[in-house]
């Protein structure tokens, strides 16, 4: 028969993918890969005030409200009224849930002073109470908070231990997902060794105060039959209850976008291959104090809002109105984006809370507002809120979280002028995609801002230093003057430029002068030529005149001679021939 083999394979699969009961608590289900073990007990241990009761209560309330799993909460410490009040401050309306028969609260009080023990007993009363409550509303979840209190109410530890063992087995048989809270013991997880009985899943909550900043942490000590995150995860209790970080088990599998978005500064876009940043990338702006980190962030946000994208601006140093005012002074109107609901600020002093609080707030706001762009200004003040290692881990988680959602992250980082930026920010720089560096250039008794792109993954980017100008019309980037005197900015650049202009003018004037000289010389030359020609012509004329006169004289002479000869009646043959030739030559000159 094929049936038995089929059922075994089915069983195997069942064990591999252990059924889970989701807690509905942000982050916790990710760490436990789905929640607490379904139909089995989970032990939550921690010292007083660590948040055990709240976690147990949230498991019940969220089970009832989000997963349609009614639950029984059995309190061994607080009264039902106290309990209702405590969780109401966290936004849960227990009364309503009780009325709707989704939750049953049972308060077990054992007044030691009015109880005596004689002889044998068991805890059947508790079983019956619990069983009755479970059956009344068809509960799928049970919380026992803090069942160890039985040990202070009853004497016979032997009986108690045996009965607790029986209770946990009974809960398993009932198929309810149970949460049992227990006080942390010295050198052991729980004071009364409950971890011996509840060993399917054990969570440890911790509340530490380090450097006067309180941090809550959670660790999955044990989770039989399932993979789970083993780190200590910070968690937070605020007005919406429990939140655990990280929200996701982080990986590097996020979707990568090829879309490019503008930085809001055309010249900066040009430096980044002409198109700006990649969407979903992480940009770090490092710079010394007053180099314009906030302004460049605001420009980026402004550009995002112009594109109709939602932007979330976390400011750890300035208040929102202050930023809005300051940006107005450089011609940026952020108020309209606030009014349109495209821009949201969140300002809080970094020192005010622990890192966890900031992180969780951030996660929450990102979940709520769903921005495309997130600015953290400045990110290093978070480091003040925790130690550097914590902050680093937190930043990595945060960046991965934003990356996974395809959100472009814009971080600013204040660096002290003396340190070398590259060495101080190794931690952060390795996880950012684009790193823009802003610095002062101090020269001739003035400071000017300069900007360059230190790295930009996946884009051709300029290696040039640019002068960064904040004008009342906005941000502008200018080429810096690079010459034999080094890099010049500000008024040095201006004066250098003026000097260059003057020099150029000089050169031009010189050229003009030479040109004038040349033409003058040419004119002179031509004038001389004209004069010489005139002279020559004059001489020519004179020469001709004298030749003509000579000829005429000769003609006259010849005529005279002929007349004389005629008068003397001399032989004319020779003499007349010569004189005829002469007459012709003279005539030719004259007719010319």
């Amino acid at each position: 028969m094929g049936m038995p083999s089929m059922s075994t394979t089915h069983d195997k699969r069942e064990t591999r993918s252990l059924p889970k009961a989701p807690t509905g608590i942000q982050g916790l289900d990710e760490i436990t890969l789905g929640g607490f073990p379904r139909g089995r007990p989970t032990l939550i241990c921690g010292s007083a005030g660590a948040g055990k009761s709240l976690l147990a209560m949230e498991f019940i309330v969220r089970g009832a409200t989000q997963y349609n799993e009614p639950g029984v909460f059995m309190a061994f410490e607080e009264t039902a009224e106290e309990l209702t009040q405590n969780v109401r401050s966290l936004g849960f309306d227990l009364d309503q849930l009780v009325k709707e028969k989704k939750v049953i609260l049972d308060f077990v009080r054992i007044e030691r002073s009015e109880i005596d023990e004689t002889g044998d007993y068991d805890l059947e009363g508790l079983f019956i109470r619990l069983g009755n409550a479970i059956d009344t509303i068809g509960a799928r979840r049970v919380a026992l908070d803090t069942i160890e209190n039985l040990f202070s109410g009853l004497n016979n530890e032997g009986i108690l231990r045996a009965e607790l063992r029986r209770l946990f087995r009974w809960l398993k048989d009932k198929g309810v997902s149970a949460v049992i809270t227990a006080e942390r013991g010295e050198g052991a997880l729980t004071r009364h060794g409950l971890e011996e009985y509840v060993s399917d899943c054990v969570l440890l909550l911790d509340h530490r105060v380090v450097d006067q900043v309180s941090t809550r942490r959670l660790r999955v000590v044990k989770y039989r039959g399932t993979a789970h995150g083993t780190n200590e995860y910070p968690f937070l209790i605020d007005e919406t209850g429990f939140s655990v970080l990280p929200v996701t088990s982080l990986g590097l599998q996020h979707h990568v976008s090829n879309e490019r978005i503008s930085s809001g500064i055309p010249r900066l876009d040009a430096m980044l291959g002409g198109e700006g940043f990649y969407r979903g990338s992480t940009i770090l702006i490092s710079g010394t104090a007053g180099t314009g980190k906030t302004s460049i962030s605001a420009a980026f946000v402004d550009a995002a809002c112009r594109r109709g994208e939602r932007s979330l601006y976390f400011s750890f140093e300035e208040s929102p109105p202050q930023i809005v005012r300051n940006m107005r002074s450089i011609g940026m109107n952020l108020e309209r984006w606030l009014d349109k609901g495209l821009l949201r600020f969140h300002s809080s002093r970094a020192m005010l809370n622990g890192l966890e609080m900031h992180l969780v707030t951030l996660h929450k706001l990102v979940e709520q507002f769903r921005p495309q762009v997130v600015v953290l200004d400045p990110v290093d003040s978070l480091i003040q809120a925790g130690n550097q290692r914590d902050a680093h881990i937190m930043l990595i988680r945060l960046i991965d979280f934003l990356k996974q959602r395809g959100i472009t992250a814009f971080l600013t980082n204040l660096i002290s002028g003396r340190e070398s930026a590259e060495s101080t920010d190794v931690a952060i720089s390795s996880i950012v995609d684009t790193w823009i560096f802003m610095r002062d250039i101090e020269l001739n008794a003035e400071r000017n801002r300069a900007l360059y792109v230190l790295k930009s993954r996946g884009t051709a980017h300029s290696n040039q230093l640019r002068e960064f100008l904040l004008t009342e019309h906005g941000i502008d980037l200018l080429d810096v003057y690079v010459g034999p005197e080094g890099v010049l900015t500000g008024s040095s650049r201006l004066s250098q430029e003026a000097r260059e202009t003057a020099a150029a003018l000089n050169r031009q004037q010189e050229a003009e002068r030479i040109e004038r000289e040349r033409s003058r010389r040419q004119e002179a030359f031509e004038a001389r030529i004209a004069a010489m020609r005139k002279e020559f012509e004059l001489a020519e004329t004179e020469a001709e005149t004298s030749i003509t006169e000579q000829t005429q004289r000769e003609l006259a002479l010849a005529a005279d001679r002929q007349a004389m000869a005629r008068s003397r009646k001399a032989d004319s043959s020779n003499g007349s021939n010569i004189s005829l030739k002469r007459q012709k030559a003279v005539k030719g000159v004259l007719t010319k």
Binding site: E111, G119, D120, Y121, S152
Partner: protein, 121 residues
Amino acid sequence: MKKTAKPDQPLSLEEIAATRPAPGDVWELRLYTAGQSPRSMAAFANLKKICEEHLQGRYNIEIVDLIQHPQLAAGDQIVAIPTLVRKLPQPLRKIVGDLRDTEKALVGLQLRPAGSQEARN
């Protein structure tokens, strides 16, 4: 560490008067059981014996079977079975266990042995 039981507060005169049952005072006792378990049966037998010896004619025993009436467990904050509750006279007392130790049971009920009580009356 386990908390030690709080020492009993000194009783006021009224309280002392109340704890000392006057002749004719009726004791209201309630025994919580879970079905017909041997332990429950033993507890009832032991209780019956104590009452007959020390409170003859001045007691009522009510048996509450939680298996039949589970909703009644919360009222008297019952966790352990069997539990005997002294409703009257005031103040309320609880004795957990099968009452096999009569001395302890008497102390728990704050009931003086019949001999001494009758001597005073």
